[in-house]
Subunit: 363 residues, 2 copies
């Protein structure tokens, strides 16, 4: 389905870029878009004509500033498209439908059992997806699934862990796509969460890390405006980074893993120690990839977000030597419990209408 001609690719990229600007919320003028895309206003007219023709955007009134013809404003048409996002864990399934801007139209939740065999799991996912389809009325683009643990986004396969894991090796994307006859994307939960954040604020999040604290600990990176997947789709799997040699035992069979230490500190009621673990991870991460924003998300972190953010800010400013030209913002995700489900849905939106990675080039 890749556009055949490089010209199509240019047009597609410009369409996506206009949508990215429009997604910020406020109606935009032709002149604003021309400045943002570095093309002439006339080109913007043609791009907008294409987008309006596809129902993705619409005129949004005019404003008059001084003499001359009033400026026409344009806005995104949120209800023109929908996407479904499912957040799968070992005990729960949480699903949402979102519109083109990532706004939630409806949500569902369900307790499930991890011992469910793969066909039953696919049926459970499909059932929830079908229920969510009834909400809203834009064109449905597909279903995104976010889940913890080693996930191969490219292959759409849950790789699983070494311990007995009934879902190990499940080709969830293929199975669910066949069942629903819709495009399906499968990704790591932390990456889905970050895609959700970048979809709604693409202009702010060029170099951003997201720390996801659920049962385990994961990270996701957006560097130079692009989500990092890694050579084996395993980027951000930092839960088993050793932070204290000989520390708390971990499910992976070793000791002192970040997520085991974090969990042990929480179980001992020591929120400060748990925060220190996250702060240490955050500092290492910022040093290596130099992001200017760290977003915290996940069920577990919300309970202690104040002390956690304080610890991260403290370690960052100490560890980066308080150099005046370096500033790293530490933020809390605003999506709450919907973070990953919304993110998985936004992966579908991103796939359909995101700015493409590379337009031309070898390989």
């Amino acid at each position: 389905m890749r556009p055949s001609s490089p010209l199509d690719r240019v047009a597609g990229a410009h369409d996506a870029a206009v949508l990215a600007v429009a997604r910020r919320g406020d109606p935009v003028s032709r002149a604003d878009l021309a400045a943002a895309l570095r093309v002439t206003p006339q080109a913007i007219s043609k791009i907008l004509a294409r987008l309006i023709g596809r129902g993705l955007m619409a005129e949004a009134g005019t404003i008059t500033a001084g003499p001359g013809k009033p400026t026409t404003l344009y806005r995104i048409e949120p209800s023109s498209r929908r996407a479904i996002g499912l957040h799968l864990t070992r005990t729960r399934l949480h699903g949402v439908v979102v519109d083109l801007t990532g706004e939630i139209l409806g949500r569902l939740a369900l307790e499930i059992g991890h011992l469910q065999p793969i066909p039953d799991l696919v049926a459970t996912l499909a059932t929830m997806a079908r229920e969510l389809m009834d909400i809203g009325d834009g064109e449905l683009l597909g279903v995104g699934v976010g889940m913890p643990g080693p996930v191969d986004r490219g292959e759409g396969v849950y790789r699983g862990t070494a311990d007995p894991d009934p879902w190990r090796g499940a080709p969830l994307r293929r199975l669910l796509a066949a069942e629903l006859e819709l495009p399906v994307l499968l990704d790591h939960d932390s990456r889905a969460a970050l895609v959700g954040e970048t979809w709604t604020q693409p202009h702010l999040l060029r170099d951003t890390a997201l720390l996801l604290v659920e049962d385990g600990l994961g990270a996701a990176l957006c560097l130079n405006g692009r989500i990092i997947h890694g050579a084996h789709s395993q980027a951000g799997e930092i839960g088993h980074t050793v932070v204290r040699i000989g520390g708390a035992p971990c499910s992976c069979g070793r000791r002192g893993c970040a997520q085991a230490e974090h969990r042990a500190a929480l179980d001992a009621g020591d929120a400060a120690a748990a925060a220190d673990v996250l702060a240490s991870v955050a500092l290492d991460l910022v040093r290596l990839v130099d992001v200017d924003r760290v977003i915290l998300g996940g069920r577990t972190v919300h309970e202690h977000h104040a002390v956690t953010m304080e610890a991260i800010r403290r370690d960052l400013s100490a560890g980066l030597l308080a150099e005046p030209w370096i500033h790293v913002e530490v933020l809390l995700s605003t999506r709450g419990a919907d973070l990953i489900a919304v993110g998985a849905a936004c992966e579908v939106l991103e796939h359909a209408y995101g700015v493409p990675q590379g337009l031309v080039g070898p390989e």
Copy 2:
């Protein structure tokens, strides 16, 4: 100097992509290039006509395989362009001239003093650059400078360290460019080294980390084919990551920094312990960004490369749980002592003829 039209940007990207394929060394056919760029052979003819017109490529004979008109081969014209690379440390200046493929045409070395004031330093750099200009005869594209410590590539400024540092804040790029009347690029030594590696093997290094062990410890990342600079041009500054709490004292005033621990182990004659420090750093790094290649480079690492590579391989295979679908190659840089100087020169080549980062899209 940015191309005015998106069409020009497409053409420029295709030109760069053809050069990237040709850089691999072997002459290539029109059909090979068409497959690599996913365009028609006819388009390759037009692209090659542009490149040959600029002197960057040339015909390289024909081969006949079976019946039909023989295939025309094309090769890069290495001597058509040159770039100068300078590797600056606190005690030494090492410079090279390279051709378009990154091959060394000549080198120079000089002991310098760190107490040299900034104007004298610029004069020293300019003098070496001028001497190097006399070697070879292609068009000279510019001068690249690689140096350790916090460097702002975007601004072309050496930020410097907190301890008394006579070069702190030096706008080396601007000063040297004014002195030489040539384009100048300033970058971190580890990033320069990685650019050098990717310039000569762009097809192999899509997700690669380079660990540079000189006096300090630095890293550089190439993710999804792009060099990572970070929000403040500080990506890869991992020398002061704490690997052992309360460990060896570091010049930064704290204890247990990776580079201090590594240095302390080496000073104690314990090469195995030094290798363990590097292996620990490598594992954390691979976990976070999931590269499939780790390249080791730098003066210090060459003395103990066997034990170091063994330690890294051991820690990686243990730490990644030996999952069969994950394979990380650990390599030693082949550039030896020229690594950073060549890399700095290749940054100039990359700037002039590399595949551009983003062709279109919002700011």
